[in-house]
């Protein structure tokens, strides 16, 4: 069994009360309290032909609720008071100085060699959080228009999807999307939950609101199914990275999903976009994730561009760390490369690291996360088989030839800057 020691950040004010559940009257999210509670409800339209909503309602709801919780003092610190900057360089890595995010306590041991582990009700999970940390429910509505209801009772037979705050936010608006909280699903992707996450991204219709997922072994610390999300008004470096399209044989790609791979980025990954519908796109990616889970390969998923662009990163950092293969210098910065870090957003806890943060450091850290080229191609083969996508023969041969190619090539500039001063 491979484990690493790290100090987890807490996502809930109830997380540190490990041990005895306080019994009820605590207004938690367990089967004791939730079914007789009322929560705000946002109902989205689960429709194949989704037009991006322009009325900004979900954003106002999420941000308004979040700001209200700030006023109530539920967060461990004011994240907007943390200095942040874009590191100079072509990639535009974003660094934040946040000395208060990590707890000052003894590190906990995490198992990193099993991506699928059964749910353990004795450990912290989201049924134990207080209802004040829940902002609203997010469910598929029956009508043809999205709506919001301030106070809605729970249906006895439905396990609700809830959106809760992360009390140690990385950025403003940092929330957790917890599908079917009462079902106590372990941290593993399934098609239905993944589609819920895509709908959440699509419903905000905001390119600066991203969702992320970390599998066990890829720095998820809570084994209860959840996605994270927050707003950042600049592009993530991975969103700007060049991609190379992987041409697919026409008849296999019935879903019209397009796949490409990242080039000139320190972490190897796949990018999925297109699809005849959100569901088609979601199913392809979910199948890819399930394949990785079944093969015990840890991975991270970044949902960007309002659910239209999805990045999948198989990774191996935790394993390397457990096998003592990561340099001490990188370990000392205590950055655990989960989905946000891989995307290019890093929270640094020491002022020295923040001030000296360079593109070179970010690149070196993330390069440790990436699978090697050979391993990546192997993993891709599993993924393509599992999703029913078939690469065209020509490119398979070309890829094999190029697999030895270095990733040092610079981006071809295609922004000619004309000086158009007219008198």
């Amino acid at each position: 069994m491979l484990t690493i020691k790290r100090v987890p950040t807490v996502v809930s004010n109830y997380q540190e009360d490990a041990g005895e559940p306080l019994g009820c009257g605590r207004n938690c999210l367990g089967k004791c309290c939730l079914p007789v509670s009322k929560l705000p409800l946002y109902a989205y339209v689960a429709d194949a032909e989704k037009e991006p909503s322009s009325d900004f309602l979900l954003n106002s709801l999420l941000l308004g609720q979040w700001e209200e919780r700030m006023g109530r003092g539920l967060f461990r610190y004011d994240v907007t008071a943390c200095e942040t900057k874009v590191i100079p360089g072509d990639s535009g890595f974003v660094a934040q100085l946040n000395e208060g995010r990590h707890l000052k306590k003894r590190p906990t041991e995490f198992r990193v060699d099993r991506v699928l582990q059964p749910f353990d009700p004795a450990k912290f999970n989201f049924t134990k959080i207080g209802q004040e940390e829940v902002l609203f429910r997010f469910e598929a509505g029956r009508g043809d228009k999205a709506y919001f209801s301030e106070s809605s009772s729970l249906d006895r037979n439905i396990s609700p999807n809830v959106v809760a705050i992360n009390v140690s936010p990385i950025e403003y608006g940092h929330v957790l999307l917890i599908p079917r909280v009462l079902d106590c699903l372990p941290q593993r992707i399934d098609a239905q939950s993944f589609l819920l996450a895509l709908n959440f991204a699509a419903e905000t219709a905001n390119p600066y609101f991203r969702l992320g997922y970390n599998s066990l072994g890829a720095f998820a610390t809570i084994n209860h199914l959840h996605f994270q999300a927050y707003y950042l008004s600049v592009p993530f470096p991975v969103e700007k990275a060049q991609t190379q399209n992987i041409p697919l044989v026409e008849d296999a790609a019935k879903s019209s999903v397009r796949v490409s791979k990242l080039i000139n980025y320190p972490v190897r990954g796949l990018v999925f976009e297109g699809g005849n519908s959100l569901k088609d796109l979601g199913d392809v990616v979910a199948n890819a994730c399930i394949c990785l889970q079944d093969n015990n390969i840890p991975f991270n998923v970044l949902i960007s561009d309002s659910g239209r662009r999805i990045f999948l990163f198989p990774q191996c950092y935790a394993e390397k760390q457990a096998l003592h293969e990561v340099s001490q210098e990188l370990l000392d910065t205590q950055v655990n490369p989960a989905v946000w870090e891989i995307g290019g957003h890093m929270v640094l806890k020491r002022k020295k690291d923040y001030e000296e943060a360079s593109e070179d450091y970010a690149w070196r850290l993330l390069a440790e996360v990436s699978l090697s080229e050979e391993r990546f191609e192997e993993v891709n083969a599993y993924i393509f088989e599992a999703t029913g996508l078939v690469e065209t023969e020509v490119d398979k041969k070309k890829d094999a030839k190029e697999s030895g190619a270095s990733y040092e090539s610079t981006m071809a500039p295609h922004f000619p800057e004309g000086c158009l001063v007219l008198q």
Binding site: F56, L61, Q65, E67, G173, E239, K240, E273, P416
Partner: protein
């Protein structure tokens, strides 16, 4: 007066107020497909579409005016390319990119999209973006000649010499390439030198026209940021303007670092609520909303909160431009930028008597939603952001 009609008026006057009435005629004479957009209006709408653009895409002028450019994107449009354009807008710089767009009838076509910002000469603010869209022909052209641009009289080309525009523009092609409809349209088409040259020439002609007509109003523009940050009111970078423009609630941003804490941004909804125009409120302190019935104690409470860098919610009587009063549920909050320090205060107003929130959110939640959206937008602003940033 609803905020929609405020917006419609702004869209209609966007060009004429800056470049005079005559600019529309001049732009109408240009053959190339292009759009002009105004980032200071909520939603960053199209304020002009050339005849060539409408012919190329099959839309009517009224169908695109006031809409955002994303309506021409579709399912096969590469998302990364969309992001590149979005980022060029946010960073106020030129971009030239091949991208798949869609006509009104739903057919996709490849265009070379070349966009550049237009700056006001006196304050360096971005006033408009001009986007030329050159259709990309298939690599094997009918004539078998790559660079047809400089050759006169070849088949399928129309050559015009337009003396009115003063530019040495010798040949322009206006043709619709029937071959690229449907079929291989989804395979990436790269623009060649011919298309790039066409785009650059077109941009020059448009800028030339805008520059000339801007002199008529005395408010000159240029294609490169040449002014320094403004006298009087600090102007916000257009990236912030665009983000703030998405927020539907009535609010203003005030600058606590300038004397008397002036308004540096006012939303359309604020202008509708109070009856003032944007010019009338920018640079002024919010106290012009107060009047004889305004409770002095409440004003003291506001002042105390601001001094303490705290947020507060108060109710007070405020006055519109026409003298009528309304009960204002006012929420004020400090807003920090990337440095972590306070950059602005946001003040969100709500007329308590109006029942126009029909989306289910409580008034308080609706207001806080605006606060949150402002905080997200300002959070990424570095302290040195602003018109003084050099264009790349």
């Amino acid at each position: 007066m609803g905020s929609n009609s405020v917006r419609d008026r702004l869209v209609d006057q966007s060009l004429t107020s800056r470049y005079s009435q005559w600019v529309l005629e001049a732009l109408d004479e240009l053959e190339d497909p292009f759009l002009i957009t105004d980032p200071a209006i909520a939603g960053h709408p199209i304020v002009f579409a050339s005849r060539g653009f409408l012919a190329m895409t099959g839309y009517a002028f009224g169908e695109v005016l006031g809409r955002n450019g994303r309506i021409f994107q579709g399912p096969a449009t590469d998302r990364r390319s969309v992001m590149e354009i979005r980022e060029a807008i946010r960073e106020e710089r030129t971009v030239q990119i091949s991208i798949l767009n869609y006509r009104k009838d739903g057919t996709p076509h490849w265009i070379l999209f070349h966009m550049c910002p237009i700056f006001g000469a006196e304050d360096g603010r971005v006033l408009h973006f001009v986007a030329v869209q050159v259709p990309i022909s298939k690599r094997r052209s009918r004539c078998g000649v790559e660079r047809c641009g400089a050759v006169l009289g070849t088949c399928r080309e129309e050559v015009r010499l337009d003396k009115d525009l003063d530019c040495s523009h010798h040949a322009r092609e206006v043709f619709v390439d029937m071959d690229s409809r449907g079929l291989e349209a989804k395979e990436p088409q790269m623009a060649g030198d011919q298309e790039k040259e066409k785009a650059a020439n077109a941009i020059n002609c448009i800028l030339s026209a805008l520059n000339r007509y801007s002199k008529m109003t005395g408010r000159v523009v240029c294609g490169k940021r040449c002014g320094s940050a403004g006298s009087g009111v600090a102007s916000l970078p257009s990236s912030l303007n665009i983000s703030l423009g998405r927020i539907k609630q009535s609010f203003v941003l005030t600058d606590p670092h300038s004397p008397d804490m002036p308004i540096v941004y006012a939303s359309d909804a604020f202008l509708s609520l109070t009856g003032y125009s944007r010019q009338e409120v920018l640079g002024r302190n919010c106290r012009f909303l107060n009047g004889p019935g305004t409770d002095y104690e409440v004003l003291k409470e506001i002042k105390k909160s601001i001094h303490g860098q705290q947020s507060c919610t108060v109710r007070l009587l405020n006055y519109r431009k026409d003298g009528s009063s309304f009960r204002n549920l006012l929420h004020i909050s400090p807003v920090r930028n990337a440095s972590g320090k306070i950059a602005f205060y946001v003040c969100v107003q709500m007329d308590e008597s109006s029942k126009n929130i029909d989306n289910g959110l409580s008034p308080e939640m609706w207001q806080l939603g605006a606060v949150g959206a402002v905080k997200v937008a300002v959070r990424s602003l570095s302290s040195s952001a602003g018109p003084s940033r050099p264009s790349q």
